[in-house]
Point group: C2
Chain length 331, copies 2
DNA sequence: CTGAAAGCGCTTACAG
DNA sequence: CTGAAAGCGCTTACAG
């Protein structure tokens, strides 16, 4: 069985308080005893257990990020921003995902209420108003990324504006029949992006519901290569064939490109996200500052943990266009 | 302040033991009191705290996955396999990454020794033999993915064979001047893949060190789009220009494709991994069964947690070829 | 089915 | 700088 602080204290001939101090507040212990204890600990493979420390100190020194799914490029890039920002703090990052199939709210609530982290960042877990309110009553530090609720600190981007920018840019090139490749209508960001898309088309009185394509696959609310592929096939098969496309995610755009390749046709397309691969694939896209979103969320969360009574922070980033081959090569 | 089990017990007029049972062993409590307690807990937002439970029960009900970096497509796909397999168990998954810049071994050791999870899966954390030995002395359940050490349960793929398959396939098409786009020579899998590449070329007496290109960027041991791009530029600039290429990762391949596009030249290329995007991009590649690797690791780990004295499991998967456009389109 | 009590492995004022 | 002691919020035999 692994040794405890008692064993180490006994071997060293000191009290457990001293051993504890060596690990938590080294300077408060004489150098010689500190070194002796460290050596004994090292030799016996001792290290304080995280949950015992957490229970006694009431701090876990970790923050948890909750995502709807682990394997998602958009989340990943946000995560790397979170990670970078966290390095300076003492805390570490743990990541959990809520499982599909089970009620998302229950899972989020479970994670938060167990309080195994000092604070939580929820990425794209779009709960209902009531659910957010119930969750908020827990008084636990939580920051929302990619969703908004007045009771929370939030970090979002302007989805309406992003979609508008993309669609407007296409229209400015002179094309008129601009389609949209959407994801699930239930997705919160999608609702906003449809708005932005519509707004741009409305300026020319060109909006037409039937120009929005949804694909078939439900996986990840339609944010998949496969769904993008399907949607582009639908788009290309429609009559009249649209002559440009706003596609709501880079990953979907990769699927859409495959469809275009197969049909041997290329229409201008602007996607959404600006993943790191997109630059290399040559995807034109609406750039979300994912790294920044992550780091900003950390800053806010850490601050909230320190000062629970702070005013709410609601940060909204404005997306920008990154135009590349997939657009230029319309030929 | 949040309520504890004592508060709930008091409100319900029962002992804390009963409250505890409601959450841990519901059937052992009369339905009526159970419902009453549940209701009180619900109303007051009570839920047992994870670390107090962990300390008392000596089980955290979670397993931790440690990765060298969060934003990596290869890890992500393994993770999704891990996640799927874990659903059936009671445990949940938490993910931590070790930070670059700080000594990897120290961080891994820290995570493991704090014992905040019941077991650990280490993905691609290539430690030295001595480090693995020291870590192994902790007696904590650990499974290695993508690395091998006799003291551990391991899940690997045959990197030599994978590289051999790819190179051999290119040679079988009649090309002779087959280059390799490598990553850092320090990477454990790379060493093996160079072996496999060499093995295939040796059969034709064609191996030539100068056919291996490394790119410049060090980030992620060279497993980046940028590095692949750089390496392909080097390759295309070399004289004589190689007429085919084994590229050691799909992500690097995406960078390499960009270089080829820019130079307006296309040589057959077989990459490595078979990420989900690769199918859509049309990348030919050596397929690693990433999902399977993840799920297998979970099975082994869960088993080891139950039966610490089990014999070691060492599973090796054999990769296979997935040939697509990037190869065919050599024209 | 329920309760009293010991114990999980730590931290941290408090006193010296 | 160090120790004795209380306490963190739970679980779990044990007894009834």
């Amino acid at each position: 069985m692994a040794l405890t602080i008692y064993d180490i204290a006994k071997i060293a001939g000191v009290s457990i308080a001293t051993v504890s101090r060596v690990f938590n507040n080294p300077d408060s212990v004489t150098e010689s005893t500190r070194n002796r204890i460290l050596q004994i600990a090292q030799k016996n493979g001792y290290h304080p257990q995280a949950f015992a420390q957490a229970l006694a100190s009431k701090r876990t020194k970790s923050i948890a990020v909750i995502v709807p799914v682990l394997s998602n490029y958009f989340f990943m890039e946000i995560l790397s921003g979170i990670q970078d920002q966290l390095i300076e703090s003492e805390s570490e990052l743990v990541l959990v995902n809520i499982m599909s199939g089970v009620d998302a709210f229950q899972q989020v609530q479970y994670q938060v209420k167990r309080r195994w982290a000092d604070g939580y960042i929820l990425i794209s877990t779009h709960l209902t108003n009531e659910q957010y309110e119930e969750l908020g009553s827990c008084q636990i530090p939580i920051v929302l990324i990619d969703d908004y609720h007045p009771n929370y600190d939030t970090v979002t981007t302007d989805n309406v504006e992003g979609a508008y920018l993309a669609t407007k840019h296409l229209l400015d090139q002179g094309v008129r029949n601009v389609a949209m490749i959407s994801a699930s209508k239930l997705s919160a960001p999608i609702k906003l992006r449809i708005k932005g898309y519509k707004k741009a088309l409305d300026e020319f009185d060109l909006f037409d519901e039937s120009l929005i394509f949804y694909g078939n696959s439900d996986y990840r609310d339609g944010f998949s290569e496969q769904n993008g592929y399907e949607a582009m096939i639908q788009l290309l098969d429609s009559d009249p064939q649209p002559d440009a496309c706003f596609c709501t995610s880079d990953i979907k755009g990769i699927g859409a490109l495959k469809a275009m390749r197969e049909r041997n046709i290329e229409i201008p397309m602007i996607c959404y996200d600006n993943l790191s691969v997109s630059r290399y694939i040559g995807l034109s896209t609406v750039a979300q500052p994912m790294q920044q979103m992550g780091s900003k969320a950390v800053t806010i969360l850490l601050d909230r943990i320190q000062n629970p009574s702070n005013l709410r922070s609601n940060v909204t980033f404005t997306p920008s266009l990154a135009i590349r081959d997939s657009f230029v090569s319309q030929s």
